[in-house]
């Protein structure tokens, strides 16, 4: 600061050479303005990539369809419809149920893997993590198709069971059902569970575990009283990372869901496609967003409470 104030004093007597622009002056004076300047690329992307589109979505959701165009008088009619017509609520519930089950399954399956790497692998941990996430380097679409091959009528599971003589005819329910969607989601999103779980388990201070053992806890009690509560942040993060995007998933139910496995994402796509009702599609997207936010909040509060009771 001393350096910058020096020339100012020198020019105090003479008229200022060139008046600095107000913007520059603001930048020089205020620290927060400098901070915003540094963040501006991100802020710009946030504004134009998220805030503006969201606002557009909000406005469209208040319009109504009129033939091929829109009636632009603002109304809550679409929100009313999304509440009263059973199809929207039912598909919303089904989506929450499917992605809820998929989330629980993924976290349960990935926890042991992350646990093993965090506590029992001592060399080349990075390698293990990369190997675990290796399947996720392939395209999401390819993984979904791979499951179609595995679960299919003449697929790996059915032909395996048939050649083992366990079943006479292929199991039809494996493909084109909510089950197929849950299985695929649970596999396709595993990487998003392994990484946060691993990070939170890795951070646990091993001396706490030793202390628990010294104080007489067996392996089970030690796990439930020390390891699990301390890894809760990872569990919560993993659950959010999976539950939020899978609820609105489109491609998995479209390819594997069949008539009974359709989810809210498919319905939203239809509104922008064949049904040609963009305002309704916008409304459903926003309602879905609100529901996810509400559920996430409840989940967060419950886990806080439970965690508070354990520790």
């Amino acid at each position: 600061m001393a350096e910058t104030s020096l020339p100012k004093r020198r020019s105090a007597g003479a008229p200022p050479r060139a008046p600095a622009s107000p913007l520059l002056r603001l930048l020089r004076r205020s620290e927060s303005a400098r901070g915003y300047l540094m963040m501006s690329p991100t802020l710009l992307i946030m504004t134009f990539g998220i805030v503006v589109p969201f606002f557009i979505l909000l406005v469209i959701s208040l319009w109504t369809r009129q033939g091929f165009g829109f009636d632009t008088t603002l109304t809550l009619a679409n929100y009313g419809r999304s509440w009263t017509e059973p199809i929207y609520g039912a598909l919303m519930l089904r989506s929450f149920w499917i992605s809820g089950v998929a989330t629980v399954a993924t976290v349960l399956l990935c926890y042991p893997m992350a646990y093993y790497v965090a506590f029992h692998v001592h060399r080349n941990k990075m390698m293990w993590i990369i190997l675990m996430t290796l399947p996720f380097w392939t395209s999401y679409l390819l993984r979904v198709f791979a499951w179609k091959v595995i679960l299919g009528y003449e697929g790996v599971i059915n032909s395996g069971l048939m050649s083992a003589g366990l079943i006479d005819a292929p199991l039809g329910f494996l493909l084109y059902s909510p089950t197929a969607v849950i299985i695929t989601l649970a596999h396709a999103w595993a990487a998003f569970a392994i990484l946060p779980l691993y990070v939170s388990l890795e951070k646990i201070d091993k001396s706490l575990l030793e202390a628990a053992t010294d104080l007489g806890d067996g392996p089970m009690a030690r796990f439930f009283r020390v390891t699990l509560p301390l890894s809760m942040p990872g569990v919560i993060a993993a659950s959010f990372l999976i539950f939020i995007p899978t609820t609105g998933d489109y491609i998995t139910p479209a390819l594997l869901g069949g008539p009974d496995g359709a989810m809210i994402g498919n319905l939203i796509q239809l509104q922008f496609g064949a049904v040609n009702n963009w305002p309704m599609g916008a409304t459903l997207s926003i309602v879905l967003m609100l529901w996810i936010a509400a559920l996430a909040l409840v989940f967060l509060l419950v886990t806080r409470k439970v965690q508070g009771r354990i520790t």
Binding site: I87, N124, M127, Y176, P259, D260, N276
Partner: protein, 374 residues
């Protein structure tokens, strides 16, 4: 740092995290830079026309003359139903040529997104069967048409002759037969399925735009829904399911049955006693088509005898070029359910009729609800 060295290090467990990351970085750089020349080569042939069409029409066999002239295939964009296609183009997707059917053509014209086709610029125009051009609404001005007819055919039931028991005449009832619950398939687009539902419900197409018709058709569609294993616009999925026996019967177009028969699968394309659904599809040019000359090349290629021969022989569709039929005898054509005189076939079935946008939207909305189980 050569690869063998790295592999050795991995084996001995000596590879440090930093070295490993470095290796990964190198691999990543290599992967992204290697295909660069290949990508540039693709970009060089860039300016081809874009053809926005039904899934399955994106194959080289239909574009022999186009390829000869322009050295590459046109670019393809795919849709599953014509309503979906129109919505996309209304949303600002610009293509050169698209592929609607007679039923939706007047509505496509109404959107103002298309330009009339100058028939003088289409070399094969002289051989086009006039009855296929003369459709309601296809007359913008003298010497021009909105839609150049390309293919025509039927929507009916393809069934496994060894797995489906037919009593008496073939009928749409196959797709409503509870004995085959969970082993029936259907096209997902209302543009086909709803009209087939109308035939099954006994609704005359002239009165399809009435509340009673909506109720009647919705009732039969709801009755059918629990029996259906899959609604899809992906004909390959339906064909594979039929060939595996996963499905015993499905609503399809001509091509599925012909393709499966060529594979030696015992299937038949039914001639239902209630009549099949018949349609004529064609091509239209977008008003802002960026490659207008090549758009005409696409049309010429589709209307050529060469393409027509493939369409008839390999897919069992009717074609709009009368000369394309010359290489087939009456018997072969009859076996495919075709004839040199398309009007005969089209009128023997139920020919789709243009409807208003309100009808189309309402129908799609209702049908999607039914498919979702409501």
């Amino acid at each position: 740092m050569d690869i063998l060295d790295q592999l050795g290090a991995v084996r001995e467990g000596k590879l440090s995290r930093r070295k490993f990351t470095k290796g990964l970085l190198a691999a990543g750089v290599a992967m992204t830079t290697v295909p660069l020349p290949a990508r540039r080569a693709l970009a060089a042939e860039g300016d081809q026309a874009t053809y926005f069409t039904w899934g399955g029409y994106d194959i080289p066999e239909l574009f022999g003359p186009y390829q000869e002239k322009n050295g590459a295939l046109p670019n393809f964009a795919i849709f599953g139903g014509s309503e979906e296609a129109l919505t996309k183009m209304r949303g600002g997707f610009v293509v050169d040529v698209s592929h609607p059917c007679n039923q939706s053509m007047p509505r496509w014209v109404q959107t103002g997104l298309f330009q009339p086709i100058d028939t003088a610029r289409v070399a094969n125009w002289g051989d086009v069967i006039p009855e296929l051009v003369d459709l309601p609404g296809n007359d913008p001005e003298a010497g021009k048409v909105w839609m150049a007819p390309f293919d025509w055919g039927q929507t009916s039931v393809t069934y496994r002759t060894d797995l489906v028991e037919i009593e008496g005449e073939e009928s749409w009832d196959i797709l409503w037969d509870e004995r085959y619950s969970g082993r029936l398939g259907s096209l997902a687009s209302g543009g086909d399925a709803w009209w087939c539902g109308a035939i099954k419900a006994g609704v005359d197409f002239a009165s399809i735009d009435t509340p009673e018709a909506f109720d009647k058709i919705a009732a039969v569609m709801r009755e059918q829904r629990p029996l259906i294993r899959l609604y899809t616009d992906d004909t390959t999925t339906l064909e594979q399911a039929l060939s595996a026996g996963e499905m015993v019967a499905s609503m399809t177009w001509n091509s599925s049955a012909v393709l499966l028969q060529a594979e030696g699968i015992p299937v038949k394309f039914a001639k239902p006693k209630e009549g099949a659904l018949t349609w004529v599809c064609g091509v239209m040019i977008h008003k802002d088509a960026p490659n207008l000359d090549r758009a005409y090349d696409v049309i010429d290629s589709l209307l050529s005898v060469e393409t027509g021969h493939f369409m008839i022989n390999d897919w069992g569709y009717g074609h709009s070029n009368s000369k394309a039929f010359d290489q087939f005898d009456e018997e072969t054509l009859a076996g495919l359910g075709l004839s040199k005189n398309p009007v005969e076939i089209l009128n023997a079935g139920h020919f789709q009729q243009p409807q208003t946008q309100e009808w189309e939207t309402r129908m799609n909305e209702l049908f999607e609800q039914i498919k979702a189980g409501f």
